[in-house]
Symmetry: C2
Subunit: 340 residues, 2 copies
């Protein structure tokens, strides 16, 4: 393991000054081709590579060409697709991406953001958890550009990319209502999450439309895992008067619900299911699952576009971009025949 060579080492090896090496490394003009060639040779011989930390320290106010991305849970397909889109955009700007998962913990979010900012990222794309984002605001004041994704951050003037959660959920539930359903169950994630709350509002909106109020026995909040969702769905289907349809507030909950419906096979087909979020193979289930589809790649790409715009100097007022969801009807909506 050799000590890393510095520009000074290269300079000595090539018999030139340090500045000349710097110029060659950065492709600046004003170096004789012959001299440059000698330097290049020394660079290759020593295996020199520029130290971007030192570089970044010196050229203050310049960009570090690093951004941070903080999502809820990277293992979730929705967020990993989003991440991939951000990464692709970042590469186009010669930018590397620091990644972190917040797991819906404000403390963890703060830790990660702080670690990112200590490394002087140019910007942050954040899926903000519930709570106060005082520290994000502080970083913003110090010049870090911030874009929020999937949920707005409380008390923060930042670009935000959202989807029409409420309308999406509304349409999904209206779809069920139009099929004749009246006893529709709600299975939802923690409702301190903004997007989840919005979807629940949409659920209620649809009922308000027809002058009804959902049955409180058919409302379940706070489902944090596929397993919990399965148990909740199971319980709900076991009620004296079970629902004829279910609305699930996100992909995880939808899959848990599918688990429950499949494990109680005798009842399969007797309940309609609509879920928020598209997921792989939803069309292959029986019955196929109707979903409110978001486009995570588009969300990520939009967020990245906004962020790099800000980094490039866009100082217009914060924008809120709402992307549309799409109801993908898969024919599981019709009132099913009573179980035999």
């Amino acid at each position: 393991m050799i000590k890393r060579p510095t520009m000074r080492d290269v300079a000595t090896a090539a018999g030139v000054s340090l500045m000349t090496v710097s110029r060659v490394v950065n492709g600046e003009p004003g170096v004789l081709p012959e001299t440059a060639a000698r330097v290049e040779r020394a660079i290759r011989k020593l295996g020199y590579q520029r130290n971007d930390m030192a570089r970044q320290l010196r050229r203050k106010g310049q960009l570090s060409e690093t951004i941070g991305l903080l999502v809820d849970d990277l293992a979730n397909p929705f967020f990993s697709a989003l991440t991939r889109a951000v990464e692709d955009a970042a590469r186009l700007h010669d930018c590397v991406v620091l990644i972190g998962s917040s797991n819906d913990s404000l403390a963890r979010e703060r830790e990660v953001v702080s670690a990112f900012c200590a490394r002087r990222v140019d910007g942050l794309i954040v899926v903000p958890v519930a709570g106060s984002h005082r520290f994000l605001k502080d970083q913003q004041a110090l010049g870090v550009k911030v874009v929020c994704v999937d949920r707005p951050a409380e008390n923060l003037a930042a670009d935000t990319v959202l989807v029409d959660n409420r309308r999406g959920a509304y349409q999904a539930v209206r779809h069920l209502i139009n099929q004749g359903h009246r006893r529709i169950g709600y299975l939802g994630d923690r409702d301190d999450i903004w997007a989840v709350r919005e979807r629940y509002s949409g659920f209620n909106d649809a009922f308000a439309d027809i002058g009804l109020v959902p049955d409180a026995a058919l409302i379940r909040h706070g489902l944090r895992s596929r397993l919990e969702a399965a148990a909740a769905a199971e319980a709900m289907m076991g009620l004296p008067v079970p629902p004829t349809a279910l609305f699930a507030s996100n992909d995880l909950v939808t899959m848990g619900t599918v688990d429950a419906l499949y494990s109680a096979r005798q009842r399969r087909g007797s309940v309609a299911l609509v879920g928020f979020d598209e997921f792989a193979l939803a069309d292959k289930l029986s019955p196929p699952v109707t979903v409110v589809a978001q486009d995570p790649a588009a969300i990520g790409a939009t967020a990245a576009q906004l962020l790099f715009g800000r980094i490039a100097g866009d100082t217009s007022p914060p924008r809120e971009v709402i992307l549309l969801t799409r109801l993908v009807v898969r024919g599981s909506g019709e009132i099913a025949p009573a179980p035999t």
Copy 2:
């Protein structure tokens, strides 16, 4: 947008020297509690945050507490689960993670590795693409710890975490053979990918066991997407004498095959399918899909453990860790009745 305060600013504000501030910031002993409190107050008032780039520059030879992770495609659930595991391990070591996707391009891999190393990462976890990894070796010589995942890197002495691809595929195909299948189709990704080649070997091993050679008409390599896989499966099932079973070399190909089998519904159930890689809802398809399951989280965790061991100073010879796959039989193996 305010200029970022430095330790010097804090020192002036607190009426102490720069060194005292440094000591307080780093929690070093030897500062009177009273003095420390004054400094803390100044820090909070100014919103000071340590500049880790300068810090890292000064304390040479120390760790940057940053690692790089380079996967094939972050949007693939396998790699995103792996990434999540690495990230969790990194947090335990107070380390942040730079992420990149190589898309199976050597040039892109080199670019990303180079960008990571310019930022002086302590280590790299890499899913190496095919080709020469000269540049990885160079970085290794300069002290960057490297761990390979999913595939070994050619000509590189580095810790490597793999699964028993060949044996896993062998067992899967043996399973089909035991069920009475003889015409088994192979649908595979690019076979310049090591893991894919290994799986193909396992496929052939199973045939060798019973003294047969697979029919060349039932072998398809180079399927890069779900769509391509679907087309290939479709074509194969349309042969004059179609296969009675299919082996798919990874999750993407398996899903494409599922697409093909579902779209040709009349033939559904007439062909058995076994795929490498577990995927969500495989158990819910009809018929359910038998898979060779890897544990991406365990792979990521193992790789991270090796890497942080090296970073902490472990200089033992490179290790190769082989994790076991698990054949998850889901009852789609039996010879199906001839199509009606």
